[in-house]
Subunit: 659 residues, 2 copies
């Protein structure tokens, strides 16, 4: 995963032995040595073979090696590069051919996914693969403003991105809740608006290099003119807030935001100091990032402080700017030359689009049905109007939706008619991980494994998008992500151990496997129940989307309804019995664990419904449909512990089928 | 843990509510704000209460707060400081009084350990504690040369150190296998001798600050003149190796070491360039570390290259140096003024001791029975000869011994007669984590929880050293270490999942709970079976000392032998049945997991012995002692998978008792 463009499976296989070695030929960047050494260590770790080859430091180190890697020229990390590769595996030789070392890195990831085993050995199937991406921009955005994410979180997620052939890390560095990047000439930003949580410039350079070694481009985002509370906490003088009384101080108008939502603080587009400030910021930030693109945000500026400020209103009139959108466009256009100076193209959320923008601009399409727009509307509009564009709508993984929803969400809306030129302007897609409700302890479980499936949407041929096949492969990929250092699997029980007060967590695991966190902005309603410093160690934070037992139970119920054999009935009633036991066990555990209390109403509702259904299905008690429906309503409640039981539909099918 | 010096438990308790707040008064360093904010977040995380108080940034923020912290003066992180504190908890108020903010940090850790709960709430028992350390130097050394440990490993271990009131982090930065510290004036060291794995100076400053905020002093070590392969890989010209042929190149004589052991490469004490090099190194390293002490290693120099070099022999003669120890003393004394220049006292392993050393020197005592010396011999000698000294013998946690051994190992050898002055020169103890056989994935499970018990040896009153009480509390502390971010619990199953090829790991867990890694230098014999780049993802790497089921089984057996009731018999035979099932399950799993194969001989031996004993004890089959003993020998084998079953003694007791 992502599924390659072309595969030919042949007879036989290449069996791995401890004498396995790699050699590299051609014209390459040093990144290929890092990549190949890492490849060997990962193969070492999985197989326990501990190959003798240590650090690969040069080309042509061992011409007799079984894995021969050839690369024609040095690769550049960026957009519209040749990322293709070929792998040929025969029983005694593996060959990788790629135009550049970036293609080689992709090939090594494919190879690691191809490894099979029986009881005695590890082997690669004999196969010929030729592969290249469907879209050139395959991104993941991480918001480090709302919850800061330390360097090791960023690095391990870059590793995981590379494993599924994503190639752009979009770093959302600034928002109302924090400024996260050290500026040597504007120290106030981190002193007053970061709570000490920010990246030093050296850390940023180090991460940029780390990403480059893995073939990943980093695009920074400084979100303006809205989402500016953190900036204005440090530099209130460039804010739009109008002070009615002469003795009011702008300083007191802004303080770093602790809640979630859309807030008023906005840069003042009528103040020349605003542009001086931004120009100086770009002068310091741009050189840290080699990428040709710079994301300036531009989203969700509701203009309330603009409307309330007579100076800004006067400025609008004077400049013949009729709407706030025109005012924002005026603002955005002022930034273009500041970035051009550093050879950067401007990029922003779809709100920045206006007809005066240079055609190199990238429009980041994000709105969809939650915002009252058709999905991808701005993407298609941007492409038609001559802009480059990428899509994030459909890939908002913070909404805690099923992987199915994201996987079946295409980049180009179905039945869109576009010319070849227009289509070429659609560069790809980007997964967005907004961080209102995550910490470094559970962010991995929000990003992975779902992002691996989305990576397939970005890379693979549309004809190979196959839900059933993906679901099967996703489990495998998920395990491999743990091997790489992603902690989505192990941290679940860690959170549950804390909740259980270090008692046996089996029953908590059972419940978590049928519960999912509240979805699509229904958790932390109003944005004030939790603060940015809330640690999120609750039951909901251990739960994930695509709860595993819920999926299995649904299948078990479908099988039973199709064929009411004793065996199929038994599989259904086993779940009921498990959940009845689970509830009584949770009650017992809760006597020494206050954090279990809030989830008991859910396990109780489930236990009651299970008991009733068990009596009907196993003991032939007569069914009381109204009781069933009442109990089902309790099970479907979203009022407990920020989670919902996701087995309601399966239960409804059983109940509807009775009598 | 560590047990406080004085505790008075009173009636009643302070119940935590979500309105809980903290206020601070007195004269303090900023570290108290970081410490108190972290305290609130940890309490938040454990209780799920998510207090409204965010970042504490000043004194006297809320005089009505329930937790009142008072500190008299600013604390300095270092040796021989006042670290005492008092806590008084009443039903509606908690008061912490300490001389300095360092004492306050200790008090907050104690408070976190005092938190209790019932089914409904979290509370602190009403108590009065006054506390101070038995020894002023309470250290943990981590070797980052043999296996590099990234910044996040160091930081989380500093957190854990603070949690158990350790106060010195000894950073072993250089050894034969790598140079781990960026020098801007000697870039070759990291370019040629680090494999890219080193700390930048900014990272070091950041870690020093991080440690300082937690009350922890960092003492760096640059190990010379032996253990110098990495240095000489970059600067061969200062090596002692004698070149017989005029066309031989020193360059080719040294290359970075991949194995473990004691190696010949040694700095040349007769070459003035050696001292110039070291002086320049100290000039760059010293300013990074505020500590008054600098560790120059000095251990395990066997002098082979000195003996073989006629130039060095001539130098010895000329300077009237009779032995290699005298030559090394000559070398060491040359370093004293280089460090004095930076206001640093010299510190080194016990081999540096000689009668010309200044009395401020700290002698680091490490040899013991493994090296043919009585434990603590050099500690006592150093104290008697007027040097300051600390002890590491007995605290070598890389040897994988039981926590009991370390806990019952006192700092001052029993029955030693010392004057008060001599006793005062014994500053304390230091745990050593040598890293031949660890990676960042399992190092936590080697350090913790055993180091928490050793911390009690360093801090608490000798009369409170109580094995049974410690073992009970250690489980609790171990869980709290996970809360802090230590991954000793969760990474065990992660390694086992890899070994099982992501099948059910229950049987592997069962086996790992009665297996321990080979101890005291018996794993990786000769130092060449594994290399520094071996990833250590094997079964032995998931096992730890103090295997939990082995301890429980021993108790079960003792109970049975004391009272052969059916209930006690049943507890014994349940283990036998579990292990018989475990073996058959492991066979099944191994059909899809080659890494399980190497452990099957052990589970088979155990299964066979269990089967025989079950037949005798449950079915009254007549006992065949010679068969028992044969099977027991198989169980006691150390020839499989780098581990040993640690239930042999318990089995022997049963067998001896039959008939």
């Amino acid at each position: 995963m992502p599924w390659p463009q072309n595969i030919t499976l042949n007879e036989g296989s290449f069996t791995l032995s401890s004498s396995f070695k790699v050699t590299i030929s051609g014209i390459v960047n040093p990144r290929i040595f890092v990549g190949t050494t890492n490849f060997l260590r990962r193969l070492d770790g999985r197989t326990g073979m501990f190959f003798s080859q240590g650090y690969i430091k040069d080309i042509n180190e061992d011409p007799s090696a079984q894995l021969q890697i050839n690369s024609l020229k040095k690769g550049v990390v960026g957009i519209n590069q040749d990322e293709s590769y070929k792998i040929e595996i025969t029983s005694n030789k593996i060959t990788i051919d790629a135009t550049t070392d970036i293609g080689v890195l992709h090939a090594l990831e494919t190879l690691l996914q191809l490894l099979q085993n029986n009881g005695d050995s590890f082997y690669f199937p004999n196969v010929i693969i030729s592969d290249f991406p469907a879209f050139t921009w395959r991104g993941l955005m991480i918001d480090v403003a709302r919850h800061f994410q330390p360097v090791d979180v960023i690095k391990r997620n870059i590793d995981a991105m590379a494993a599924v052939k994503l190639n752009v890390f979009h770093w959302h560095l600034v928002d109302d809740q924090g400024w996260r990047i050290e500026l040597k000439n504007k120290k106030k930003l981190t002193e007053l608006a970061s709570d000490g949580n920010y990246y030093t410039q050296e850390e940023i350079k180090n991460i940029v290099e780390y990403a480059d070694q893995r073939g990943i481009l980093i695009v920074p985002e400084i979100d303006v003119p809205g989402h500016a509370t953190a900036i204005l906490t440090a530099y209130p003088e460039i804010g739009s807030k109008y002070l009615k009384e002469p003795n009011e101080q702008k300083q007191s108008q802004y303080k770093i935001e602790r809640n979630s939502g859309i807030f008023r603080p906005t840069l003042d587009p009528s103040n020349p100091e605003t542009y001086k400030f931004l120009s100086e910021v770009f002068d310091e930030v741009c050189p840290l990032f080699p990428a040709k693109y710079f994301h300036i945000g531009g989203d969700e500026n509701e203009g309330k402080d603009w409307d309330a400020n007579p100076v800004i209103q006067k400025f609008k009139q004077k400049n013949n700017l009729k709407t706030n959108h025109e005012l924002q466009s005026y603002f955005t256009l002022k930034l273009v030359p500041m970035l051009k100076k550093h050879n950067k193209e401007i990029m922003g959320w779809e709100e920045i689009m206006n007809d005066k923008m240079p055609k190199g601009t990238i429009i980041h399409s994000w709105k969809g049905s939650n915002e009252g727009s058709p999905a991808g509307e701005s993407l298609v509009n941007a492409a038609k109007e001559g802009f480059k564009t990428i899509l994030s709508n459909g890939f908002y993984i913070d909404l805690m939706q099923s992987v199915n929803d994201h996987y079946l969400s295409p980049i180009i809306p179905k039945e869109t008619v576009l010319s070849k030129e227009e289509k070429d302007r659609i560069l790809g897609g980007e997964v967005t991980m907004w961080s209102e409700l995550v910490t470094s302890k559970n962010i991995d479980s929000r990003i992975w494994p779902r992002t691996a499936a989305i990576a397939e949407v970005f890379w693979s041929n549309e004809k190979d998008i196959n839900l059933k096949s993906m679901k099967k492969r996703l489990q495998f990929v998920s395990n491999r992500l743990e091997e790489l250092g992603i902690n989505h699997i192990k941290n679940k029980k860690m959170i549950l151990r804390n909740i259980s007060n270090y008692q046996d967590v089996s029953s908590l695991v059972d419940l978590s496997n049928i519960c999912e966190p509240l979805k699509i902005y229904t958790r932390n309603k109003g944005g004030t129940e939790y603060q940015t410093y809330s640690p999120f160690t609750l039951f909901a934070d251990a739960c994930t989307s695509d709860a595993s037992d819920a999926i299995d139970f649904n299948e078990v119920v479908d099988n039973y309804l199709q064929d009411k054999s004793p065996k199929n009935l038994n599989r259904v009633t086993e779940y009921f019995k498990k959940w009845i036991f689970m509830h009584s066990d949770l009650i017992k555990l809760s006597e020494n664990a206050p954090l279990i209390k809030p989830i008991l109403p859910l396990s109780q509702s489930l236990s009651e419904l299970s008991t009733e259904l068990l009596a009907v299905l196993e003991l032939n008690k007569s069914a009381d449909k109204s009781l069933f429906n009442k109990l089902l309503i309790n099970c479907n409640s979203r009022n407990h512990a920020d989670v919902e039981l996701v087995i309601g539909d399966s239960f409804k099918k059983i109940i509807d089928n009775i009598n």
